[in-house]
């Protein structure tokens, strides 16, 4: 049995890479993928903590996070496509003001 701390460390590394991507990239789609990366890191934390604590509720929480992330992706991508139709760009620098 690998120590749960190793899984936590892997999740922390994945989360950090995702956060760095959020800060470094300007393509809205890639930033979205970095959000997915961070969500996955948190899911890994919950699963390994649930295993270490002999508790199944960690897996239930991950199930809910997966559902909410799917809903978030649907709406977010729809917004990106809607902006792209108006502006012909996917760079977040060009959509800094909140109007069409």
């Amino acid at each position: 049995m690998v120590d749960p701390g190793w899984y936590m460390s892997l999740a922390a590394v994945l989360f950090t890479i995702g956060a760095l991507g959020m800060l470094l990239r300007r393509n809205a789609l890639v930033m979205f993928m970095c959000i997915e990366l961070m969500l996955n890191a948190v899911n890994l934390t919950l699963i390994s903590a649930g295993r270490a604590l002999n508790d199944l509720n960690g897996q239930v929480a991950v199930f809910f996070i997966l559902v909410v992330a799917a809903a978030e992706v649907v709406v977010g991508l729809a917004i990106i496509v809607a902006i792209f139709r108006r502006r012909t760009t996917a760079s977040v620098d060009d959509m800094s003001e909140l109007r069409g």
Binding site: V30, R51, N54, V60, F63, L66, A69, A71, V73, V81
Partner: protein
């Protein structure tokens, strides 16, 4: 068993981190999507190691299947050949981002080093296989008893999200 799990962990951790790095540094968004796909699969394997069978299956089907297909559709729609412009619009942007990233790293490291992790058992007791075996029945039992309200709320949320996506697409089409 232990050696096998350690080898599997090292392999999957390496592919997960490689995929994550690819997401960030790839110039082409399609390569980013492929990197994310690799990370999702590796994390799903680690879920199986943790006996989270249902969650691993949902991860592969919903995330690696549906969500990544949606991502690839949108990437193709928006166009993959556009180069991401790199000129600075904010002064000292890179310096600020680097400083912020360093601060985040130091903060996280400080919390990790000074933190109190008593809730995490130091010596692993023999894992109760029956309690953590995430089969469909085992996960469904708390889902439909303790968390049934949250389950209904996510059902409503998914319906609203689908309706919202349709409304966004339709609204723009009529306006132009």
């Amino acid at each position: 068993m232990t050696v096998a799990e350690a080898v599997l962990f090292v392999l999957m951790a390496a592919t997960a981190i490689a995929g994550a790095v690819t997401v960030v540094i790839a110039r082409n968004p399609v390569y980013s999507a492929m990197g994310l796909l690799g990370t999702l699969f590796s994390v799903a394997v680690l879920y199986v190691v943790h006996l989270a069978h249902l969650v691993a299956a949902v991860q592969v089907i919903v995330y690696a299947g549906a969500v990544m297909t949606l991502f690839l559709f949108v990437i193709m729609l928006i166009g993959v050949d556009k180069e991401e412009e790199t000129e600075e619009t904010l002064p000292n942007q890179r310096l600020l981002v680097g400083g912020l990233a360093g601060l985040i790293t130091i903060f996280a490291a400080a919390i990790t080093v000074s933190g109190n992790f008593d809730w995490l058992p130091a010596a692993i007791e023999p894992i109760d296989q029956a309690a953590t075996n995430g089969t469909v029945q085992a996960v469904a039992a708390p889902l439909f008893t303790d968390w049934v309200l949250a389950f209904e709320a996510t059902a409503l949320l998914l319906t609203i999200a689908a309706a919202g996506a349709v409304a966004l697409a339709h609204f723009r089409q009529r306006e132009t």
